[in-house]
């Protein structure tokens, strides 16, 4: 097999390069890539058979409240206004007595899992969903907790989970970025949340600001050529190729890196068309558009489906600029946000299911932490790292179940606790990766997404 052939096979997903091949000393992939000639983004075999191939992470940045969404706590009504000792946990700010949820819960699906009336559409899909009610993390502040949720460390010094996944698995479609982050504007902290950190730059997430619209010409930097016609560009590329081949010929006709760049130019040309097609939501039917509804988040969900359908490894859809779910002032404001996301999320689940993609696609829903059951500023809720809810669906997850629980007020996780490290370990496992083996040698030691922690929660698997 020539190098060219090998590259082409990589591009179509046939090439398999053991992870060991890409492991190199102190942060260089260059020598490994030289030896094998493979693109660092070419698909690679997992450690074991994966249950999921793609991830869509619906990030409710700001921190949604568990006791108003997926963790009903009748005791809050009973003890409304009181502050029993068990509800006297320290969070970021001063809080008062317990505050009952202004939202009602009802049972959905065959499983009968209770969901609040913030999420009636998601409730209809509850039999595909596994709610983890016992999440916890380290610090009740946005920045460190956003970093923890994305990179497993509270300081901005580690690669994002999406970067780890690309490093471990590559991506299926070489004409699209493998790790896409959709956010209207930017979440707090910003780029460090999708940073490659010490991994090579190709594993960086591609941030797409879809605040105004999903404009296929603008979503990826420089994806559109506004200077030459399509024919004109084809001719220019042909010229460039001729010159590059003469250059190569004079250097013995063989050099992995020179050939890789020649191939990469061709890929870039194809990427222009393919990426623009993927982001063109107008290509969807009227029925589909209506099912998702309108708005930034609906567009984000629809784009996410089109991306995973095209082989993108991981897509994050942030709810919005800044930290919109951060309702310190009035928890009833959750209703506006839930209204934006409820229908699109349900549509996404159903759409993926109908296309037989849900089984390969892991959906993650949640924020960087939850909120207190006690009141802040009268009607609001403070940050809460002691306990919160997230949910998973698709991708090898057992639907219609809840896992773990918080105390009677929903303040702290108590039973079957799941730390963010455990969630990461579980997600990597679903993707076919052993979180203890997915390592990168840097600064004289092997780094992991889960550092020295992490427990795979096997109970969640179908």
């Amino acid at each position: 097999m020539t190098r060219r052939e090998s590259l082409q096979r990589m591009g179509t997903g046939l090439g398999v390069l053991g992870l060991a091949g890409i492991l190199a000393q102190d942060g260089t992939l260059a020598s490994a890539a030289d030896a094998t000639g493979a693109s660092p983004l070419a698909p690679r075999a997992a450690h074991f058979a994966p249950r999921a191939k793609h991830i869509i992470h619906l990030f409710m940045n700001g921190g949604p409240s568990q006791v108003d969404t997926f963790d009903p706590k009748p005791a809050l009504t009973k003890y409304n206004g009181q502050r029993p000792p068990t509800a006297d946990l320290k969070t970021e700010r001063k809080t008062g007595g317990l505050m009952m949820s202004p939202f009602k819960f009802q049972k959905y699906g065959e499983s009968g899992i209770e969901v609040s009336d913030l999420f009636p559409h998601v409730g209809e899909c509850i039999d595909d969903i596994c709610v983890i009610r016992s999440m916890h993390t380290n610090i009740p502040n946005h920045e460190p907790s956003l970093l923890m949720m994305n990179s497993g460390e509270t300081q901005p010094t580690r690669p994002a989970m999406g970067s780890w996944l690309l490093y471990g698995l590559g991506t299926e479609n070489q004409n699209l970025p493998g790790f896409v982050v959709l956010c209207p504007g930017k979440p707090v902290v910003g780029p460090q949340l999708w940073s490659n950190s010490f991994l090579p730059g190709v594993f960086q997430g591609t941030h797409i600001n879809h605040a105004n619209s999903v404009d296929p010409k603008k979503v990826i930097q420089h994806i559109d050529n506004s200077y030459l016609s399509s024919t004109g560009q084809r001719r220019q590329l042909h010229l460039l190729k001729q010159m590059n081949e003469l250059h190569l010929e004079r250097r013995g006709g063989h050099d992995n890196r020179l050939e890789a760049r020649i191939e990469s130019l061709e890929m870039a040309f194809r990427m222009q068309t393919e990426a623009q097609t993927v982001f063109d939501l107008a290509k969807e039917t009227k029925e589909t558009r209506e099912a998702y509804g309108t708005g930034q988040f609906a567009n984000g969900c629809l784009a996410a489906r089109r991306l995973v359908e095209s082989g993108v490894r991981m897509v994050q859809v942030y709810y919005g600029n800044g930290q919109p779910w951060d309702d310190h002032g009035n928890i009833k404001d959750h209703a506006n946000k839930a209204k934006d996301v409820d229908q699109p999320i349900a549509a996404l689940i159903k759409d993926l299911k109908q296309r037989d993609l849900l089984k390969d696609t892991l959906i993650i829903w949640g924020g960087e932490f939850g909120r207190t059951p006690v009141a802040e500023n009268g009607n609001g809720r403070d940050h809460n790292h002691h306990g919160f809810s997230m949910w998973l669906a698709g991708g090898g997850i057992k639907g219609g179940m809840t896992y773990g629980s918080t105390d009677e007020f929903g303040f702290a996780a108590v039973e079957n606790k799941v730390h963010v490290h455990d969630l990461h370990a579980t997600i990597l496992h679903l993707m076919g990766l052993d979180h203890e083996k997915l390592t990168f040698r840097y600064s004289g030691r092997d780094f992991r997404l889960t550092d020295v922690h992490g427990r795979v929660v096997h109970e969640l698997f179908a």
Binding site: Q25, D26, G27, T28, L29, A30, S31, D34, S39, E92, N138, P140, N141, E143, P144, T154, Q155, T157, Q174, V188, V189, G190, P191, Q192, N196, F198, P200, G201, V202, Q204, Q221, H222, Y227, L228, S229, G232, Q233, R235, Q236, L237, L239, L240, M243, L246, R251, G252, H254, D255, R257, R261, I262, S264, L265, M267, A268, Q272, S443, G444, R445, V452
Partner: protein, 1067 residues
């Protein structure tokens, strides 16, 4: 009786037993056979089966720092505390973990209840345990570990013998050739002169050679032609831009932080970058370069005008700062880690940070050594150092103080005069109310109601009249209960507007008197409280309504005097409410609260309150934060500090008729930045339980009527017009002072983000990196593996100066080797040691150990001159080899680790972008200065001057493998992805350069396409085109241009030349 007490009693009753056992762990005794049998039967097997995998000396990874394989270790416990406390089930974390209470152990599943019951019983028995043994501390065998090559002294090796004696051009070649001959490798041919000058020029200055440089070199047949080229390039001021940038990767140079919140950008960071560039240009001896960056402030200035010694400390001064809102101790420890990591990997090629939580797993670096170094940094601090005389700093500060104080003077003046101005109008209240009546009547009758005319007739101010009209509209009913009567009045249809009915006049007069009365009470002019107004002007006192209400108390007007009659009252309620904009920063004091009566005066602080209901508790003679009382910048001895909202209730002792106090807004709240500036509170006094919720804002009638939103409020801008005479002149003067202060204030002096001494003290070892658990003291000193067991304790200041000395001692085996290797790496694309920042066990061993020593020794002898090192390397035959392949060699050494040829190297993003700008003729070659924005397509400065962000690295830099500046980087990864090519094909930057390049060619070669192609190749590739290339070019240029193209054929051709592999890869 509890178990612990039993033990204690037993010890007291049987001292002889106690003394016998005292040498041992008293809690584990006595050793009874039954207990030990129980341990062997029920406990040990469970520990072995379920716990040892993670909690024994044999465990692959000990979890949580906990060992359970000896008695002592189990008692000592792990990171969270003692696992077993004999006879205390509650304190024994092991029991909680087994019960899945807190920890959940074993993680695979809870053990059966019966087993857990055994453990509980065992602990209750006193946890009998025969397993003696020291707590297993990992030990490093320094003698053995010290054998590693990197710790051996640098030798001066003899030149190895070689067979091809004619091949070596200098000493370096003896080392490389000897290796090649040993491995049966053949050095390939020497590179051509064109390749050589292109390689050397990019290598040393990061730019392509000009066609003229190339021609001159081709013509120079002298033996030292290449040496002359090297010398010329080393003299170029662009040399420092190229090589300084390599160092900035190591220094993780950046001008901001990764976080979003509360980050102050290091906008003066560029001074450090410029210092590094200049240091390379001046060939500053490397040992000095190191010392300046570690301890410049302690070494001192070289000359009077130079502040370089402070700028150089940007190496640490621009270090990472983390988010400290929560878990500040961890964040502070993480910052220390940044310093230790960058220092040790950067200068020493050692990964000391690996020893932060446990002894280094591979290298002889105990955890204590890590904290010895961390202690040096904890004894130092970030510091924005002024780069000027102290007098200049003082002049600047004085200027700023004057701006602030003149501005405050205006604010204070306005606030006072505004209220005063409003208060001077109180006597006209009735007139305004009556005029509003006339206005409303006219309107009700459909007559023209012109405010200007009405104001003139009534001799009132029109501006204020309009405010009164608004104030007395029906929508404001209920705001001031004293005006209830007003709102009951209705202008009658057909009434004559000129005549004001008597009942209106009554309402107006009563209201005016009421306001006046309130003012008198507030100012102590009247001691009559509201209940006993006597003359009927005030509303009768209703039980539960206040005796006293202050105006809004704010930072500008921080006190309110209180002096009221409380005759006959049985209780006293002191109420502080927030002033209508939330509770934030509302720290409030009741200053010198005093009861006065027949019996004299009684400090209320000596009376115990019956209840206190507030946001925070009250503090006697202290403010809310427990600090001394301070209001308006003035300290007070006596008072009660609270936080609004707050109600203090007292039962009044007999015999007191007056209450006097001052309500004050404490500086502890009002000095808290913006929040404090906004803080406002209101003091009120009741003599019965407040009937209405006392904590509701806006009940202050005076504030409503005379405050900033009231009908008498005058805007800041209008106030000047209201003032007359002296007051007016005074305001004009204050404003002139403010303007003058702004104009004459000296500009901000230059600063450097530097480093300074802090309180010098040793740290303790953090157990497993946890700041909350500390172990033995780690004296500030150097690494044992380099400085020996008896190394000196640094006691002079932080110890940075000693540290700098230790690193730059000529007998330090690492410092010279590490920098020599870095320089070699940037010439060859690969270091002699392939892991340039890790010379430890886990790093790669050197391919040419003797050569590394030869270079390091020679480097030190040369006075640590990096430029001499470049000359040595570049004049070697090894450096001058071509990049041609050689099949037989490739079979033996495909990676070219033994340099039988030169490695073909991709230009880094700086050299590539700079070359594009240079060839297009647009490069701005100016040196230094504040950083520029690469996203600006018109930015034509060299890339080294681009802003480097930790928060959001520029896209172009990131795309082309520029390292993340959050951490030190030893070499760049090299990736090839389509996004890079999209930049080449579609970016405005590339198109701009293509257009400029095409235009340049047309200017320089106006005659023919062939001339232009010749010139283009000379500029872009440093060579003439081959016949085939010429043909391809001409064919393209002569082909028909697609009518939709916005570029000419020449422009799109130029873009292809710039985008080619030959432009990006260097032979």
């Amino acid at each position: 009786m509890n178990a612990r007490l039993t033990t204690l009693l037993a010890a007291m009753l049987f001292p002889s037993i106690h003394s016998l056992l005292s040498a041992q762990d008293t809690a584990t005794q006595p050793v009874d056979k039954a207990g030990l049998d129980f341990f062997e039967a029920k406990i040990r097997p469970v520990l072995i089966a379920h716990c040892y995998e993670c909690h024994s000396a044999e465990a692959k990874n000990v979890k949580g720092g906990l060992l359970l394989d000896s008695r002592e270790a189990a008692h000592k416990g792990g990171d969270s505390g003692p696992a077993v406390v004999p006879k205390d089930v509650d304190e024994s974390l092991l029991i909680g973990a087994l019960k899945y209470d807190g920890f959940e152990m074993p993680p695979k599943g809870k053990l059966p209840d019966a087993v857990i019951a055994d453990f509980v019983k065992w602990v209750e028995m006193g946890a009998p345990d025969p397993r003696d043994g020291e707590v297993t501390e990992s030990t490093i065998d320094f003698d053995q570990a010290g054998q590693h090559w990197a710790y051996q002294p640098i030798t001066s090796p003899e030149l190895p013998a070689v067979q091809r004696t004619d091949w070596p051009a200098n000493d370096i070649d003896h080392f490389t050739l000897a290796k090649m001959e040993e491995l049966k490798l053949q050095p390939v041919d020497k590179a051509g002169k064109r390749e050589l000058i292109r390689r050397a020029t990019f290598d040393l200055i990061g730019l392509p050679p000009t066609p003229e440089d190339v021609a001159a070199f081709l013509e120079d047949d002298s033996d030292d032609a290449f040496a002359k080229v090297i010398n010329r390039l080393l003299q170029s001021q662009h040399y420092g831009e190229r090589w300084g940038r390599y160092w900035l990767d190591v220094a993780r140079y950046s001008e901001d932080q990764a976080h979003t919140f509360s980050v102050t950008a290091n906008t003066n960071g560029f001074r450090y970058r410029d210092w590094v560039v200049a240091a390379f240009n001046n060939d500053m001896p490397y040992d000095k370069f190191v010392r300046m960056q570690i301890a410049g402030d302690l070494i001192g200035s070289e000359s009077e005008e130079s502040y370089d010694h402070l700028v150089a400390l940007g190496f640490f001064g621009l270090g990472a700062q983390y988010y400290k809102n929560s878990d500040a101790a961890k964040a502070a420890a993480d910052e220390l880690d940044d310093r230790v990591d960058t220092l040790t990997r950067g200068f020493l090629g050692l990964t000391v940070s690996c020893a932060r939580c446990h002894d280094h797993k591979f290298d002889p670096i105990p955890t204590q050594d890590y904290y010895s170094l961390a202690g040096i940094f904890r004894s130092s601090k970030l510091h924005n150092a002024p780069l000027c005389e102290a007098s200049e700093v003082e002049a600047y500060n004085a200027g700023q103080r004057r701006i602030k104080s003149t501005e405050e003077d205006i604010k204070k003046f306005l606030a006072e005069e505004k209220t005063t101005a409003a208060e001077t109008k109180v006597g006209e209240t009735a007139k305004y109310v009556e005029t509003v009546w006339r206005y409303q009547t006219a309107k009700a009758n459909g007559q023209p109601a012109k405010t200007a005319e009405l104001a003139k007739q009534a001799d009132v101010n029109e501006f204020l009249l309009k405010r009164w009209i608004n104030f007395l509209e029906a929508k404001n009913k209920g705001k001031v209960s004293a005006l209830d009567d007003w709102f009951d009045l209705k202008p009658e249809g057909g009434a004559v507007a000129d005549v004001v009915p008597a009942e209106v006049t009554t309402v107006a007069n009563e209201f005016q008197q009421y306001i006046q009365q309130l003012l008198d009470v507030r100012d102590g002019v009247s001691t009559t409280n509201l209940v006993d107004a006597g003359d009927g002007t005030a509303k009768p006192h209703r039980p539960g309504s206040p005796r006293f209400v202050s105006p809004l108390v704010t930072k500008v007007r921080p006190t309110a005097g209180i002096d009221i009659d409380i005759t006959g009252a049985k209780q006293l309620f002191l109420v502080v409410s927030e002033g209508g904009n939330g509770n934030s920063c509302d720290h409030s004091d009741w200053l010198a609260p005093t009861l006065i009566g027949d019996k004299g005066e009684l400090k209320l602080t000596e009376v115990t309150w019956k209840s206190l209901d507030g946001f925070g508790g009250g503090k006697i003679d202290r403010n809310y934060e427990g600090k001394p009382l301070k209001v308006g910048g003035k300290a007070y001895d006596n008072g009660i500090g609270v936080h609004a909202p707050c109600v203090i209730a007292y039962d009044l002792p007999e015999g007191y008729q007056r209450f006097r106090a001052t309500g004050g807004l404490d500086n502890s709240g009002s000095d808290q930045g913006g929040c404090g500036e906004q803080a406002s509170v209101q003091f009120s006094v009741y003599t019965e339980q407040p009937a209405e919720g006392p904590i509701s804002p806006g009940k202050d009638v005076l504030s409503i009527v005379l405050g900033k939103d009231g009908p008498f409020a005058i805007s800041d801008d209008d106030l000047e017009n209201f003032l007359t005479g002296d007051k007016r002149d005074q305001l004009i003067q204050l404003k002139a002072d403010f303007e003058d202060a702004k104009k004459t204030a000296p500009p901000m002096y230059a600063v450097a983000h530097s480093y300074a001494e802090a309180k010098a003290e040793d740290m303790r070892v953090f157990v497993r990196g946890n700041p909350a658990r500390q172990r033995e003291v780690a004296p500030r000193r150097f690494l044992r593996v380099l400085a020996g067991e008896d190394r000196a304790h640094y006691t002079e200041g932080s110890g940075r100066r000693d540290l700098a000395d230790a690193i730059t001692r000529p007998d330090n085996p690492l410092t010279a080797r590490v920098i020599v290797n870095r320089i070699w790496q940037h010439h060859f694309g690969r270091g002699i040691v392939g892991t340039p920042s890790n010379f430890g066990q886990q790093g790669e061993p050197p391919t040419h150990p003797a050569l590394l020593d030869y270079l390091a020794a020679r480097f030190i002898e040369s006075g640590w001159s990096i430029k001499s090192l470049h000359r040595d390397i570049m004049l070697s035959a090894t450096y001058q080899l071509s990049t041609a392949n050689h099949e037989a060699n490739a079979q033996i050494d495909a990676d070219n680790r033994f340099v039988w040829r030169m490695n073909r190297q991709r230009l880094d993003v700086e050299a590539w972008r700079d070359a594009l700008l240079d060839v297009s003729g647009k490069l701005d070659r100016s040196i230094g200065g504040p950083s520029t924005n690469l996203a600006d397509v018109n930015n034509v400065r060299r890339t080294v001057y681009a802003k480097v962000s930790r928060h959001e690295l520029d896209n172009l830099l990131r795309m082309f493998d520029f390292p993340d500046a959050n951490i030190t980087s030893s070499k760049r990864s090299e990736t090839t992805v389509p996004q890079q090519q999209l930049f080449v094909l579609n970016s405005p930057f590339m198109v701009e350069q293509a257009k400029a390049f095409a235009a340049r060619l047309h200017t320089e070669k106006p005659d023919s396409d062939e001339d232009r192609i010749q010139r283009a190749f000379a500029l872009a590739y440093g060579r003439p085109p081959m016949q085939r290339e010429l043909e391809i070019g001409l064919t393209y240029l002569n082909s028909e241009r697609d009518p939709d193209n916005k570029l000419t054929q020449w422009e799109s051709y130029a873009q292809a030349l710039l985008g080619g592999n030959e432009f990006m890869y260097l032979d």
